[in-house]
Symmetry: D2
Subunit: 467 residues, 4 copies
């Protein structure tokens, strides 16, 4: 609760004054940390202790009216919490964030929740800028999955582009990404990725995009949706050229930066694309980038109004649980902590790639070169027959390796009446079966070593069987 505990007149019967003075002096540095947070609204340089975090969270929760003493609730929503365990795990926050119809509005009955939400958004903005999108002007956390948040962005764009029907979309075989468009009621215009001379990865078909822009009625195009982070061998979309097209044709451009915030590379791409072209918003998930439980996304952009319009499209008051998770996590890591994790990930990615190259050569596999995919790697199995790949994946899982994905051509999938050939491969062309592995934030050297050992063992086993 928010109270001042005044030791200034404390009796000598309790403790000698000189002892007390030293103890009180020692608290100054914490006081300064809290003051700076409220004043500057920036990520603290260094991470905070758990105690300090909980202290601030408790103080904020005490400002919500459901935690006042001597109050009476005569409304239909009074943030009563029936179960003590639930109250405790939410630090007695109950009112959620936003007011009906605007996620960013202050709640008179929930001052603490309001500050919590606003501070979280401010810290996120600082983080996004620190990771490389320096021109980012505004962002906010939405307590929904990235897919649903993309849906919300599309719905919000419709209000300013009422005739729009289509979304131009660089194909990525990830279901919720596709559903974000159909659920919003738009018709995806699917533009297949293509091979290139540059390396073995899949690239954005800029020509195809341009053709479609020319072909369609501009007013009927809601926006372009591109993707940064994705499974190899798909590369990060060429968002710089897409942004130029968007600018030229005056079509909004939304970037699905799902787990790209963890990587300065993807962030720099966004920054540069916006500098020379047009990006309206870029969306990222909180769980994958910030290591919190699933359930939130961040909408960020370069113009305050565009971003706030999305916030104003959310119908109703929303959960503050995701803001709380992000708030606590950011304070716990501090700017240095996050940047260090990000750097460590980058190095571990390179280590993983290099070691996989060695192992792959030993076993007749190949790590595909995909220059602008900085998180995921694909390794082809030249020698595996078509039905074995998925078995291979589940054998890895039973050996304690999670997150790898085995992909083979040949499977067609229909989602919301759209048909995808070679679902999973992001392209129509046939390719060799391959396995993807990722080095995402929080990965450790131990993870990599365990994986390499088990992967190598399994490949050996397969080879032996063959012979």
């Amino acid at each position: 609760m928010y109270i001042k505990m005044d030791f200034s007149k404390i009796s000598e019967k309790l403790v000698p004054a000189n002892y007390l003075k030293l103890a009180l002096d020692s608290q100054k540095s914490r006081e300064i940390q809290v003051k700076e947070l409220l004043d500057k609204r920036k990520l603290p340089e260094n991470g905070w202790s758990d105690e300090l975090i909980e202290y601030v969270v408790h103080q904020l929760a005490a400002l919500d009216s459901n935690n006042f003493e001597h109050k009476a609730g005569l409304g239909e929503r009074e943030a009563r919490i029936a179960c003590g365990l639930v109250a405790q795990r939410h630090y007695r926050f109950g009112h959620g964030i936003g007011r009906s119809g605007d996620l960013l509005e202050a709640q008179p009955k929930a001052v603490g929740s309001t500050i919590l939400a606003q501070l979280t958004n401010a810290l996120l903005l600082d983080l996004i800028q620190s990771m490389g999108v320096q021109s980012c002007k505004s962002c906010f956390l939405v307590p929904m999955a990235t897919g649903m948040t993309l849906t919300l962005c599309f719905l919000s764009l419709r209000k300013v582009r009422p005739k729009a029907k289509h979304i131009l979309w660089s194909r990525i075989d990830q279901k919720s990404c596709f559903k974000s468009m159909t659920t919003a009621g738009f018709i995806p215009v699917i533009i297949n990725t293509q091979r290139s001379n540059e390396d073995e990865g899949l690239y954005t078909s800029i020509e195809e995009f341009q053709k479609k822009m020319e072909a369609l009625n501009k007013e009927e195009i809601l926006c372009i949706m591109s993707t940064t982070s994705c499974f190899a061998p798909r590369n990060c979309d060429n968002i710089i050229e897409l942004a130029e097209l968007a600018k030229k044709y005056e079509i909004p451009h939304i970037v699905n930066n799902a787990y790209g915030l963890q990587s300065t590379y993807y962030c720099h791409q966004i920054q540069q694309a916006q500098r020379t072209g047009r990006i309206d918003m870029f969306i990222q998930s909180t769980d994958k980038n910030l290591m919190v439980p699933v359930g939130g996304a961040i909408v960020a952009g370069f113009d305050e109004t565009t971003v706030q319009n999305v916030a104003k499209s959310y119908a109703g008051r929303a959960s503050s649980s995701q803001s709380l998770d992000v708030f606590m996590t950011l304070l716990s890591l501090g700017k240095t902590g996050y940047l260090n994790l990000s750097k460590a990930r980058k190095n571990l990615f390179m280590e993983l790639k290099q070691k996989l190259n060695v192992i792959s050569k030993q076993h007749g596999c190949k790590v595909l070169e995909t220059k602008s995919n900085r998180i995921s790697l694909a390794i082809t199995f030249e020698s595996l027959s078509i039905d074995e790949p998925t078995k291979f994946g589940s054998m890895l899982y039973t050996r304690g390796i999670s997150g790898t994905r085995v992909v083979a051509s040949g499977c067609t999938k229909t989602i919301d009446n759209f048909e995808f050939k070679n679902w999973g491969t992001h392209e129509d062309l046939v390719s060799l079966p391959y396995i993807t592995v990722a080095a995402s934030i929080g990965i450790t050297e131990e993870d990599i070593n365990i994986f390499l050992r088990k992967f190598s063992d399994l490949l050996k086993k397969y080879k032996e069987k063959e012979q």
Copy 2:
């Protein structure tokens, strides 16, 4: 974690066998409680202890792969949790619920989360049936506000009614309810409430609904949206007759039962309306009905496919935090606990009404008779001038009374280009200023008494000033 602690061969050096036997016997009743939950998937009759709840939650969390020992994560989403405090408050659940594009799908990597979500939905179904909607067949929790959940329902309906543009809506002046339609991209057809001879409340204009159904192209009507729980003097919509119209004209009918699940009256209305007419889905918020923090809603219906189609429209994986809150709360209350709270609320509502009648007469006010509003009451101030009402409301708030709302005619509000005369009153006609108060679940006798004292004091003060 899920382990069996086997005391059967424990050394006599630790404890004498006969002492141990008695202690182990005493654990049987808990074992049975857990077994019944898993087998029957029904609300337990009586509430569980905090310890038993946490035990089951810990056991489930241990089944999620992020909590396995000796595992290596090579994916882009591994449910790593960076901050210990965050991990703790989520009992180490990190994977959320559902899989991309279906909130009800099982997650191979998150068995515990899957069971948690499915069990929660099963308990909710039992609760809805117990509260009076016996024919309810299916329901699930969505971790979004009620408004956004309505949006999701509309978006899901569009897939089967692709030509639909309009939603027929019985006016209720609550912003997020209205935004749920515009955000989904539909045009609300606003049907004002009307006065009736029955009492002093506002009623659904059935004739107007019928007129519109005749006038519009049936295929272009997405659905009817009606509302049960609302601020007095608006009454619960006449959902029985609306359901009959819906059936007759073959138009889907969605009921906004925002905080109506707490009341057997509203639940019985839904049950009866469905029996003789048509209701496709009814939506309620978890916070207002189940006393958990804001952030979730329940989609319920009478046909499994209709309900599941909504689940399939949610793009992406969603937060499991709301399921966890509801799961713990329902186990903590048990069926008896919830029904008792519901009954207590009903009685306190009647007590509040009766005492308000007495006070109102003393001060020249009047409690409006609104027979089919069973949660909210409106009291007119005959003697207050037009600009005083809101001041009156804020004076109550500074005295510790939250949740009352003072409403006066005369204010026009525009939302998403739609204009509402006398915003807040649910009608175009001019009415006296009034204050609304509600007795919602969890209210106590003390709440009521504090309110009545302060309300009465304030009225007195006003009177004195006048003289």
Copy 3:
């Protein structure tokens, strides 16, 4: 931690100033509660919320040097806590209480622990006075069992009575009470209780005490030890007359008030005995009177020096865990809470007695009348043979009844070379087998009803077997 969170200059970007003001105003009542605790050092009238208690505890813990930021520990004892769970459960208190050789001394390195310990002692003094020992001048909590605390009191008395060898002791068949004397190295002079005309209980043999005082060299008598709370049919010792003897013969008098603090009757006896006679100290256990885990005792007395001498005899620094438990419990209950629990217990004792009388008559048993035992009751089984009693007790236990004790004459026990005839009965004479039951603080009506039902069932079963 002890910090002030200053919202005064908070940005309007975070929350509107008028919303904040109301929220801050609402915190005043808590601020006053804390201020009063520090200023008055009295039990708060009403119990505190868990949040307020934890707030104060955290603030105090932050004042201990092991919780300072930026400190370096170069001593042999730095209150480092290796296990996070342990740190958490102790709120990061690590330094214990007292300094080598004085439990009441302030610790320069542990200001928070010092305040905690002193405040706890102050609250306990207020409680003892409120329960009826108004003249009590000083008390402190010792983190040891009541028995060991009695030992410490005896050891402390020896320093002022160096020639003392004997303790005059009114027999009570409770092992640790007896051991408290032998462990301290004194020779108990056992004075058997005796029957009286007053009722069916056992009484202090005042004559025998007087005889011993005359017979022994006064200097060789360390003190008298009497007992208030005990198992029926033993009554509370006649401490008023014993105190008179103690005064007359100038012999210290220590009262074992083990679980007597919960009863105003026993407290008034102590108050009156001291008024007309002599009591040097009275000792009570924290667990039985204050419903905290086992492990602490309170030494109280009417002269500050006498009490403090005991504190000065404790060699070493002691656990603060018991002080913390008592501190939190007393704040949680408040004075009213404790007095209500005490009153409820008294009433439930009378109810138990009355209902047992009814049942006993039905089954040929008898509740013994023991006027000055206000917690425990004894019921004789006239019809049970000598070897059955203990079986009867264990049958009750397997039926979920704990705490009853079945006693039969005839068993001799030797403790530290002293032989007790009819161990358990407090007397040499032979008596009928009986069962004791107690209504101690915290007992509920449900406890009593369950017991009566099972007791009655068991008696019926026995009767049937007989026939």
Copy 4:
């Protein structure tokens, strides 16, 4: 609570069977860890996760009768816990350990507490043996300070040596150590330490011990008390020769190993002394050696009966809080974890010594060579005048350095009528003022570096002032 959660018949509606199977398989390693703990009663090789520790603790607590469902308590002690926060922090353990008069006895009403206490003692025995006292046969935790535990050992010895009056004691200027003898009622025979040619430390005066043994009536000597860990320049007592004397003269020998368990050196001294001579018991504090909050000590010995006699002298039931802390800490560290901490400390001690040597030379100070003190170091200030030393100490403290002690000759102190010349120096002779610093378990390189910087700065400042 102790229950088995049986997923074997779980409905496919909740989760697919193949997903579940993998999740259940992953729990096996935990099951094995728990099984081994119960079967072998040894320290686990590697530390456990917090979740596993809490799981086992909860399971044990569920076996105590106060946590049974459907029970009724009719005794005077029912382990009711009034305050929820207190219940929680003790994991609902309330019954303490031991039964009246024996700390090692099993409690029928508290099976979980009994197992907890016995397991803790078993793990401690394993730890003591692993640290080097391989012949140790028995040990147990006492929830009292080391000083009071020494008192208890003396009181227990008196029962077998009823004529004993004296304790032969190698002087160490630490108050609670001295009080442990006087509180127990014995007369300390103080044998001053002496200088030696070996190095600059203080040594046990073996001749003086022998003289006293010859001079006094052997039966009147209760025991020898020696000390291992202590402030430099006092060295560890020559316990090997003292043990030989003890054997020769058939006098019990008790070693105060206060914070010596953390050091394999001190442990090996004890092992060797017992091999060739006689040690009856050695006592160590839990907080200093195991990094738990203050409040416990361990009595260990080479003969089960001797050790158990001490347990049988504790009058009453004792707190289980200290056992719980130690249990959780030992599981959390594991054997490897503890041994690593111990080794790290040893290395940091050597680093501290070496760096201090360098700094001392720069500033005209000197690190005294004290070969058999392996934790504490003394540095003389040749240039400081007599009244400055303590000021120097408090200046360090205000700079965030805790635990150093500045000692100067010339002060006489009287404790319980015994007079000590040059209190603090452990000797009668005059010495230069010096400061002591210690590297105790848990110390970090950072602690050392902060200290050295501030120490060096302060010395510089003093020098400048002088000039």
